[in-house]
């Protein structure tokens, strides 16, 4: 019996491996073509509605890479896109459509901030207390994000509720409830704006390499470390293997004794935990307090594009996250220095996802033009 399942595993392993290797180039080509086509459409729209496309492209590049502060801003966004992108990739890789990363990110973030605020008086001030609070806050945020992810996982496993829809609803609920919390019970004393108190000054990442507010190389380090951990878990551990097989080969996984139900719950929990880490990094590194989530960036949504662009591969998330960090950074530059509405960038991101979803479009185009079309 164990011999049979062992052989089955080997066969699946080889098949998955071949798939991965054979199509890496193709996936890269599709990702590049999708991004290029989406940007081309974006630029055409800019031109069509009467703005200067050349100036648009120049400010796009300037906003992403023009100078030290632009690069810091790009890396700041990239940090968040890498983390949220990995959160999405964990779930998508296992065939679970977790669209709720935004909600898990928000729940993780507010938990981080509140646990730091509540525990700060109990710990010594200064570096030691700061480090301790960062660790506690991040752990709390990770657990809260994981729990908020496990909920729709459990609803899927035990009540067969469609994950796409429950996670989208839970995004609205997280935004609404946290928005209400920061307006009322958790509002900092004497705050005019609907914000929590600030976390103490000493609870922050050190500014090494880049002296920029809102970006620390430590945050990027946490993101990259998370990528490596998730890569090892997904690609090299039994748990990750079970996750991926049960997503794509449910019957094979069941035969080898993997409970599909438990796997959905743990997949969603792991995905939510990574989203929680993203929320903690956002809270500590960028905000320093929490505010109405309807006003913060939609990192959890854009992360879907990041993950798809990377073909849901944890390592691929790094370049995809950098690209999106650049786009977002360029977006805020464009918002300040040009008249082109920044919403255009959101639309372009949507187009990237659309084209990634239609590989056949590029295969056919490639076959027509005779470029490496092997179909």
């Amino acid at each position: 019996m164990s011999g049979t399942s062992g052989r089955l595993y080997d066969a699946l392993d080889r098949a998955a491996d071949r798939m991965l290797r054979a199509s890496v180039f193709e996936r890269l080509a599709i990702a590049t073509a999708s991004t290029a086509l989406a940007l081309l459409i974006g630029v055409s729209i800019v031109a069509a509605v009467g703005y200067d496309p050349v100036q648009f492209i120049t400010s796009l590049i300037e906003g992403a890479l023009g100078g030290r502060s632009a690069i810091a801003r790009t890396l700041r966004f990239s940090t968040l896109f890498i983390l949220t992108g990995v959160a999405v990739a964990v779930a998508f890789r296992a065939g679970v459509f977790n669209i709720g990363v935004q909600g898990q990110f928000v729940v993780g973030g507010i938990t981080t901030i509140m646990s730091i605020i509540w525990l700060a008086p109990l710990l010594p001030e200064g570096v030691v207390g700061g480090v301790a609070l960062i660790i506690i806050g991040t752990l709390a945020g990770t657990l809260a994000g994981g729990a908020y992810g496990a909920l729709p996982g459990a609803l899927k496993a035990y009540a067969d509720a469609n994950v796409i829809i429950t996670t989208i609803m839970l995004n609205f609920i997280a935004t609404g409830v946290v928005g209400w919390l920061v307006q009322n019970p958790l509002r900092g004393e004497g705050n005019a704006a609907p914000n929590t108190e600030r976390i103490p000054e000493y609870v922050s990442f050190p500014r090494i390499v880049f002296d920029s507010s809102g970006f620390s190389i430590i945050g990027l380090g946490i993101a990259l470390a998370t990528v490596v951990v998730i890569y090892v878990v997904m690609e090299r551990s039994r748990f990750g293997y079970d996750m991926v097989t049960s997503g794509h080969q449910e019957s094979a996984a069941t035969y080898s004794g993997v409970s599909a139900k438990q796997t959905v719950v743990s997949t969603m929990a792991l995905s939510g935990m990574v989203a929680g880490i993203a929320g903690a990094v956002f809270a500590i590194m960028i905000q320093g307090y929490y505010t109405d989530p309807s006003g913060i960036g939609t990192y959890g949504f854009d992360a879907i594009a990041v993950s798809l662009l990377a073909a849901n591969n944890p390592l691929g998330i790094i370049p995809a996250g950098l690209l999106f960090g650049g786009l977002e950074s360029a977006g805020s530059h464009i918002g300040i220095y040009t008249d082109v509405p920044v919403q255009l960038i959101d639309g372009v991101i949507g187009l990237v996802i659309l084209f990634v979803a239609v590989p056949e479009l590029f295969r056919m185009a490639a076959a027509r033009t005779g470029l490496g079309g092997d179909r």
Partner: protein, 349 residues
Amino acid sequence: MNVAEFAKENKIGIAGVAVLLAAAAIAAVAMDLPLWDIVTVGFVERSFQAATPIALTAIGGLYAEKSGVFNIGVEGFMIFGAATAATMMWIISGGDPGQSDIWLAILASMLVSLVLAILFAILMIRYEADQIVAGLALWFIGLGFGPFMAVLVWDSRNSPSLESINDLTIPVLADIPVLGPILFDTSPLVIATAILAVVAWKVLNDTKYGYWIQAAGENPEALDTAGVNVTRVRYAAVIFSGVMAGLGGAVLLAQAGSFTGSGQTMVGGRGWIGIVAYLFGNYNPLGAGVAALVFGGLDMLQIQLQTVGIEVPNRLVNLFPYVGVIIVLSVWGSTRTPSAVGETYESEE
């Protein structure tokens, strides 16, 4: 199909609505709430209006899914529908819209939705797009370009106050107590949607085209053998679903009277709720309409709670429909989807 058959085929949905209503009534009595102050004629009328965009979207979505294509891009179509209706109303009227401009704007918005739906259908059917990812993409494209249009026209994500549709009062009938104000003194869009739901139900169950759509989703090979072009049927259903969702967005705008493009836009998940409405209604246009009404009612509960003096913060009451969706999906999650949904079909000619 007669009423008895309808009841038989929609046992789950009907039981669900009954249980929900009973639970609400018991809760109200147990908590000593003035039930008849909450369930007023005005509340029912507002619930119908809130249900209209959801119902339109649901009817379109269920046609697509019945034909074998899961169009989860309806939220995106709704955003485009609302944004084009708003900008068109502004442009057509030169900045001072009246009642007739609303109808022109709805028409224009449907035309734009038609073009988008054709492009989307080509990607879904001809180029075999991943239906889930492409649908999500359309939502994001809507979230970007919807507010983008508003910014181009008004320099802001939100429009100034435009015009909202007037009620249509049918003389004499409108004076009938209770039913009069609900059915004969309400937005013409509500009445049109009710008629559309009945027609959609008839067409799906009692006409050749309805059978084709069902067969395209259940047994495309058989339909192909019978000499009907499966691809064409699916194109028609997907394009119909896009136009209906666009219309849903336009109707939402016509009722609200201004466009909101901040956050998740004024559509705020109604497209997703529409999908749940047809699942809950078990792929039946009438069932979907009833389910939409349940969600519309949840949406409008806020005003009722306020009038009877129950202090629940708006921000939290606004979440009722979303919580309702999760409960509905968890309790009646396992609906039977058409067997060939999500599979591309290639004729073997």
